[in-house]
């Protein structure tokens, strides 16, 4: 080990080398011999006498050597070298121990790093715990995401409450943005429509300029914009003269009044309903000059489900604020019909992050903790097993005069060395794990972009495994103090058993291991089954070769609904004429998520209470919707090209809607009112299509419109050409291709640009991709959990194998005697298997009870399968038992082949 010697030599340069002592002693002996010869002795006698006078040369040399250096340092290196030798000599033990440690440390560090960054890292705002989300509730449930109150309600809250410093509603829209007039094609970007209070609540101060004033929220005064530092850098090269310049949003000029720092985390304003995960980089005031009409009227109270923020005053608790707002909400409900039955709920902004991932992450956290526990148990087992063998060695050393301290030091060195190597490999695993985690699903967890290994977590996991190895690694050394040398040596020569205490301990550890890995196994297989069911959920459409894309017709160039209709019809016609495209439709909806719920007035289903008012998923399409998606027409007729703005408005309803509201009579030909019924006394002409009475012409098959996991909601579809009030500029186009739909993107974009060269084509995705994305977070967690289950199973197998083969090795003599007196191979085999089977059975039962206890946590994550699915339970337990049996089989076979003569002689 030249490296070690180099270190030693350099750090003790001032000390003498052992050779130097030798030379000096040699010189002494020579001088003494010379002297004695002078006195008349002959050569031989002189040498002898000199040596005699000197005493024990080796002893002197040792004493010289020991006085010359720090002994502990030497002993330390000696121990390390010895430990390395031991580890090298038992590669099986070393590899298993190191891998066990590395797996436990690596997996935990990676997962906990992710969880810390996603769930627990403090928000980058001042006093982040004061920042809350405000939600409207109906019948105790939050209204549609993002779930905030209507601007009018929020305004009243903000004016009358005593708990908040500031409150705000805001929104994000995809808009066509260009940074220079006429120069380049605009891009679709998500634009934040926010009041100045948004920034004030977050306490984010502009790098330059000012936040929006209250005045600027009024339509007409809202043509100002704030840009992020990133846009400022990428688009304007950090131009110091940026304020006052104009950008074009939906073809309208907005004056830049502020540059905001890049501190607002991306997850905050994510749009989870349509899977839009791009960051908001541009903000304009919360005022609308768009077709939605004016928010600041009484009619606007009904429009809920905005983004919301509030900052409570310092010293005010969340409960106080909740009580305060609840009183106000009750007042509003009494005063305004639109607010009847509407409550309010608060949530810390920090708790709202990763809200849909939270249960998954917590499950992963539990799973990975089990892995760490299994790893520790395994390590404990390994060390126990090995040390009971070494008790003899230690006793021997003690008998030869080794001090107890040195024995402890030596075991300590081995344990430390194992932990360090395991920790290093674990760190490597953690780095790899974190890197691949953040690469795998960046859009699901945007915070992961800034993810690194969390050092505190790493230290904790290494600490935990170190503790384990210290406790179980030093056990025999501690026992060694009390060791009766003669007894141990005698016992050792017979069987090597470390006594029944250690054996019981090992059995308990194996049982624990089996229990924990069974829990992992059951959890993972339940999740795998539910993901499979989720992904193969029949959607109610023909899913293949479908692709969708988003475009937006800005109000400036498309000022009226008929212009929008004309554009969309032309676009769809051109696409249908394009080779490779089988069918095309322009629509606001596509499975599996719809996202626009509408109250309905159904004369056949009168409602007197707000809870009883019929409602359905609502969509605006053209006449090609059914054909493009392959949704079956059950009865009646489809939309036709002849249904247009001048003919009576018609509608298609799903079977589910018919079942819910038309159970006895045939729905075809019935009239239905889209919008809240008369009892709510909403003045007409407000946001939604209040005056739209439509006639049902057809009943269509159900399709998934509320996500993959939920059953189809009632659905009503109308033609956008017949509903000018809600014929907005944002539309999606869906095409069915003859072959790979992605290949058609350039064609579709070209057709779009033929009609309008300034129109961006965005969010292009196949339906398969959408589904995968929806199932993605499940799939991601499931994959991880499956990985953990596999790791846990592997660890447990290794642990059980280790213990059983150890037992066999110890019982070799006994087994040999049994064979000698006539036991059959099968009998010996069974003897060993029985021992493993007992432990496995006890462990498996405990594990099943554990899953039973954890079913509450699991149930929320499962789809189409019960958390206590008996088949899964039985299969997992059976699988685990067979793996355990295999782990026992190898040593059992070895035992059954014991040649009694050899075994007995060897002892």
């Amino acid at each position: 080990m030249p490296g070690l010697r180099w270190i030693r030599f350099n750090s003790f340069r001032q000390k003498r080398k052992p050779g130097d002592f030798g030379a000096e002693i040699e010189a002494h002996l020579q001088l003494e011999k010379d002297r004695l010869r002078e006195e008349g002795l002959n050569d031989e006698d002189a040498g002898g006498a000199a040596r005699l006078a000197f005493g024990n040369v080796t002893h002197a040399q040792e004493r010289l050597y020991e006085s010359g250096r720090r002994l502990w340092w030497d002993h330390f290196w000696q121990d390390i070298r010895y430990a390395l030798r031991m580890l090298r000599k038992n590669p099986g033990f070393t590899i298993v121990a190191v891998l066990t440690l590395a797996l436990g440390i690596g997996a935990n560090t990676a997962i906990f790093s992710v969880i810390e960054s996603v769930l627990f890292r403090p928000l980058p705002f001042s006093n982040p715990d004061q920042i809350l989300r405000v939600y409207s509730t109906q019948n105790g449930n939050r209204v549609d995401a993002p779930g905030g109150p209507s601007p009018m309600d929020m305004r009243d809250f903000a004016q009358s409450n005593h708990s908040f410093e500031k409150m705000a509603v805001y929104d994000t829209w995809r808009k066509n943005v260009s940074f220079a007039s006429g120069e380049n094609r605009p891009e679709q970007m998500r634009v934040g429509l926010v009041p100045g209070a948004y920034f004030e609540i977050l306490d984010v101060k502009p790098i330059m300029g000012r936040v929006f004033t209250e005045d600027e929220s009024w339509v007409g005064k809202n043509y100002v914009a704030a840009i992020s530092a990133q846009v400022w850098t990428n688009r304007f090269a950090r131009d110091r003269e940026i304020l006052g310049r104009k950008i074009y949003i939906n073809d309208e000029p907005y004056t830049i009044v502020a540059v905001m720092p890049n501190v607002i985390p991306e997850w905050m304003d994510q749009d989870s309903t349509n899977g839009d995960h791009s960051a908001v980089q541009i903000w304009t005031p919360f005022g609308f000059a768009d077709a939605l009409g004016d928010l600041w009227t009484e009619a606007g109270r009904r429009g809920r489900g905005w983004y919301s923020l509030g900052r409570i005053k310092s010293g005010v608790s969340m409960e106080q604020a909740q009580g305060d707002l609840a009183t106000l909400a009750a007042g509003l409900a009494a005063e305004h019909p639109a607010d009847r039955g509407i409550g309010v709920a608060l949530e810390k902004l920090s708790d709202s992050r990763a809200s849909n991932m939270r249960p998954m992450l917590l499950l992963l956290m539990g799973a990975v903790t089990l892995i760490l526990l299994i790893a520790c148990v395994n390590l404990a087992n390994l060390l126990l097993a090995r040390n009971s063998v070494r008790e003899r060695e230690l006793a021997m050393r003690a008998a030869l005069g080794a001090m107890r301290g040195r024995l402890v030091c030596q075991l300590l060195a081995e344990t430390l060395l194992l932990s360090i190597i395991g920790g290093a490999v674990g760190l490597l695993l953690a780095l790899l794990g974190v890197a691949s985690l953040s690469k795998m699903r960046p859009e699901l967890m945007p915070q992961l972009a800034s993810l690194g290994v969390n050092w505190r977590v790493l230290l904790f996991t290494i600490g935990a495994s170190l503790m384990t190895s210290l406790i179980f690694g030093l056990g025999p050394a501690a026992a060694g103090a009390r060791l009766n040398l003669v007894e141990t040596l005698k016992l050792g020569s017979r069987s090597g058993t470390a006594g029944s205490g250690a054996q019981r301990m090992r059995n308990v550890l194996v049982v624990t291991e089996v229990a924990m890995s069974l829990m992992l196994l059951v959890g993972a297989s339940l999740l795998i089954q539910s993901v499979a069911r989720l992904e193969h959920q029949p959607l109610g459409i023909r899913q293949d070769h479908l692709m969708k894309g988003h475009f937006y017709l800005p109000g400036v160039r498309y000022p009226n609904p008929s212009a929008i209709t004309r554009f969309c019809d032309q676009f769809a016609d051109r696409l249908r004429a394009t080779p490779g495209i089988v069918e095309a439709t322009v629509t606001t909806i596509f499975p599996p998520t719809n996202g626009w719920k509408q109250m309905l007035g159904i004369p056949e289903h009168p409602a007197s209470r707000i809870q009883d008012i019929p409602s359905a998923e609502f969509g605006l399409t053209d006449a090609h919707f059914l054909k493009t998606f392959g949704i079956p027409l059950i009865r009646g007729r489809n939309f036709s090209e002849t249904d247009n703005a001048t003919t009576p408005p018609v509608a298609l309803i799903s079977q589910e809607l018919e079942r819910m509201y038309y159970s006895t009579e045939d729905a075809i030909g019935r009239r239905i009112h889209i919008g809240p019924p008369q009892l709510l006394q909403i003045p007409p002409g407000a946001i939604i299509t209040d005056s739209a009475d439509v006639t049902i012409v057809g009943v269509i098959g159900n399709f998934r419109n509320n996500g993959l996991a939920a059953p189809p909601e009632p659905q009503i579809i109308v033609l956008y050409s017949q509903h000018p009030l809600v014929n907005y500029g944002f539309k999606d186009v869906v095409v069915r291709a003859a072959s790979d739909p992605h290949a058609l993107t350039p064609e579709i974009t070209r057709e779009l640009h033929t009609l309008d060269s300034d129109m961006p084509f965005a969010q292009v995705k196949t339906i398969d991709e959408l589904i995968e994305q929806q199932a993605g977070s499940h799939r991601f967690t499931t994959a991880l959990l499956a990985l953990f289950a596999a790791a846990g199973l592997m660890l447990a197998t290794v642990g059980i194998y280790g213990v059983v083969s150890f037992l066999v090795a110890q019982r070799k003599r006994e087994l040999a005697i049994r064979v000698a007196v006539g036991a059959s191979v099968a009998e010996v085999l069974w003897l060993v298997l029985k021992q493993g089977l007992q432990m496995a059975l006890v462990g498996a039962s405990i594990g099943l009870v554990g899953v039973w206890a954890a079913q509450k946590l699991l149930n929320g994550l499962l789809f189409g399968i019960s958390a206590v699915d008996p088949v899964t339970f039985a299969a997992a337990a059976g699988f685990l038992l067979s793996v355990v049996m295999m782990a026992c089989w190898v040593p059992a076979r070895r035992a059954s082949r014991v040649d009694p003569c050899v075994a007995l002689r060897a002892e």
Partner: protein, 116 residues
């Protein structure tokens, strides 16, 4: 293994070897064997130093900075490690000598009075 049986010499008291080494070196630098010889001769062959014990003592003194050492050539042309007193060693010698004298005087008084 000791030389006791062949000689009737005195064994050194614990801790006195250091003092003797320092005292011997006052006449100039000397190697280990020379020091051993010098102690034997100066004490009229009464004191015996086990040569092997001399070297750890030298090593100790060197570490404490009381003596310094370097390799050189002996009078009969042999390589040897020569030790010499450092200024600190000189001071230490004076201190230890005074202490020793007081100690032996005191012990001497007690022993003489016993004798009477």
């Amino acid at each position: 293994m000791s030389t006791q049986e062949q000689d009737n010499r005195l064994e050194l008291l614990q801790g006195t070897l250091d003092l003797l080494i320092l005292r011997t070196l006052i006449f100039g630098s000397q190697h280990g064997q020379g020091i051993a010889r010098a102690i034997l001769q100066t004490s009229d062959e009464e004191l015996l130093v086990e040569h092997g014990a001399l070297y750890p003592a030298l090593q100790r003194l060197e570490e404490r900075g009381l003596i310094s050492a370097k390799w050189g050539i002996s009078t009969n042309n042999r390589k040897a490690r020569f030790y010499s007193l450092t200024p600190v060693g000189r001071k230490q010698l004076v201190k230890e000598t005074t202490k020793w004298n007081r100690l032996t005087a005191a012990i001497g008084r007690i022993l003489e009075s016993e004798e009477v």
